[in-house]
Amino acid sequence: MTTMSPTPTRPYDLGFTRWVYQNIDGGDRMALCMQCGVCSGSCPLSTTMDNGPRKTFMMIRAGMKDAVLKSDTLWNCVSCYNCVVRCPRHVPVAYILHELATLAVREGYAPARTSETNKFVKGFTWSFETFGRTDERIISLFYYFQDGFVAGIKKLLAFKSIAFAFVKVGRLPLGLPHRIKNRGELKKMLAAAAAIEARHTAGRK
């Protein structure tokens, strides 16, 4: 997990472009992008993004590493995959955004640390690593209390009425979280996956 993308020496550094083409899965297809705007136009969250996928790709092609990895576009993707199925050039848009988000975390960019999406993802990961299942209550609690105890209580109270409504209609179970059998096996699988990722990352130029 030590290999980083090249540190830019100027705002427009094509070294970053080349690195993305070669090291991000599907990154090479970005060279085929014709800037038609179908990805950003199809995106349900496009209006909440600073750049949107199309402009992000143009920025990558211009070598704007800092601007790309600080962008909230990487974090506001909800993985609806409209862009992926509609892209006329078969660019795996959403997958590339996820890879760029991972890169932003690995390289310690500030928005990656403060992004609400990333905090939520941490809760999601912790839940399935611990129980082998995702439990909405645990994910929510993990997410609420990341900014401290007081902030957590405040967020809990804010969602109080929604939570009670969910309990009423039976959408929020009150029992203990379900665990899968043989959690040791899951741990081994996750460790193997981590090893593969480390190997893959180390192989990056």
């Binding site: 038609c36 705007g37 950003s40 136009g41 750049n51 949107g52 199309r54 402009k55």
Partner: protein, 371 residues
């Protein structure tokens, strides 16, 4: 070609070109024409090809005078394929006013009904033969030129554009029929939903073309065809506005002058964007949605009429054994010394003048191959 209203860039009518070429064919005793025919198989080699031809029945003999008594004799109507099913036509019909040969056709749906007998009885030349059957015959030839032409890409397959659900989303070929004086509306461009002349029109480029999900290639003609459609709209209405959504406008060399002329009109707006989808608006009309790639603005613009510039697909070669097709279905002979050639859109997307050039070239090559 006869289905087009006018050609770009000079906006001249296709009838004069057709007239000249039909006369040439008619006067040349060495040219034989088989209509309603399709090629089933091709075998053999240069100088000795056998082409198996399947000819569908016309149910009308050669002594038809195109008087039209049969059409008047029946009440039954069938979809008018010449107008891309925009209107209906009598079950005994002349395909179009420039039909070659100038003979009526009887729709197969009418057979076995009392209408068929009524049609037969109406013909005072006894030209109706309801017992005609499909025939298959072989032609022995030295060289072959494929000039099977094209068909528009099926717009219903571009599901985000809701062509199948929105009446006021039409294709560029349907626009040609609406604008044509011999079309379903006698040349008045109106909305299919309510028959009112549209005030705000969107033309969407690359509907299916340059898209790995549909046609992977650029169809070449659609940009200029849409310029022509903008010109039709502006000719018919002084207040109509036309928005052209494009990825990039491909107006090659001499065609650029026509493009400049059209876009200099203040009522014609170019918007650099491939629309992501067409939604159904609150009034049931089309709403074009996407991202303007110059301003990065997300738009949702309602229109009276949306025209999809659908691309060209090769026609009539699917399933023919022995046809040298490329990955897209165009006829591209790998080895031109073999005596098989292609002309016009059968060889790739071309406009009318380029098709004529390629046809002349193919004819010369074919003559040389069997000399």
């Amino acid at each position: 070609m006869a289905q087009l209203n006018r050609y770009f860039p000079k906006l001249c009518h296709p009838t004069c070109g057709l007239e000249i070429n039909f006369q040439r064919i008619r006067r040349n005793p060495k040219v034989k024409v088989f209509t309603l025919a399709s090629v089933a198989a091709v075998t053999g080699e240069r100088g000795d090809y056998t082409v198996t031809v399947r000819q569908a029945p016309r149910y009308v003999k050669a002594n038809c005078t195109a008087c039209g008594d049969c059409a008047r004799a029946t009440e039954m109507k069938v979809q008018n394929q010449f107008d891309y099913n925009l209107g209906k036509v009598s079950a005994a019909y002349l395909p179009h006013e420039m039909a070659f040969p100038m003979r009526y056709v009887i729709a197969p749906q009418v057979l076995g009904t009392p209408e068929a007998e009524r049609i037969k009885a109406a013909c005072k030349y006894d030209a109706v033969d309801l017992d005609e059957k499909e025939s298959t015959f072989d032609l022995h030839v030295g060289a072959i030129v494929w000039a099977t032409g094209w068909q528009p890409y099926d717009a219903a397959r571009i599901s985000p554009y809701r062509y199948a659900y929105l009446k006021d989303v039409i294709t560029n070929v349907e626009m040609e029929r609406l604008a044509a004086p011999n079309g379903p509306t006698q040349g008045k461009i109106v909305r299919p939903s309510d028959g009112v002349a549209p005030k705000k029109v969107a033309l969407i480029q690359c509907a299916g073309s340059r898209d790995y999900n549909h046609l992977e290639y650029c169809s070449r003609i659609c940009c200029l065809a849409s310029m022509k459609h903008a010109a039709y709209m502006r000719e018919q209405s002084a207040e109509a506005t036309v928005d052209i959504y494009y990825i990039d406008i491909r107006a090659h060399d001499k065609l650029e002058a026509f493009y400049r002329k059209v876009v200099n009109d203040p009522h014609v707006r170019l918007i650099k964007s491939k629309p992501a989808e067409i939604k159904i608006g609150p009034d049931g009309g089309p709403v074009v949605c996407g991202e303007n790639t110059i301003t990065r603005e997300i738009y949702a613009e309602p229109y009276d009429l949306v025209v999809l510039a659908t691309g060209m697909q090769p026609a009539g070669v699917e399933g023919v054994s022995g046809a040298p097709v490329d990955a897209y279905g165009f006829i591209v002979p790998e080895d031109e010394t073999q005596g098989i050639f292609s002309a016009g859109v059968a060889s790739g997307p071309l406009d009318v003048s380029m098709s004529v050039q390629s046809a002349t070239a193919a004819a010369l090559k074919a003559i040389q191959a069997i000399r």
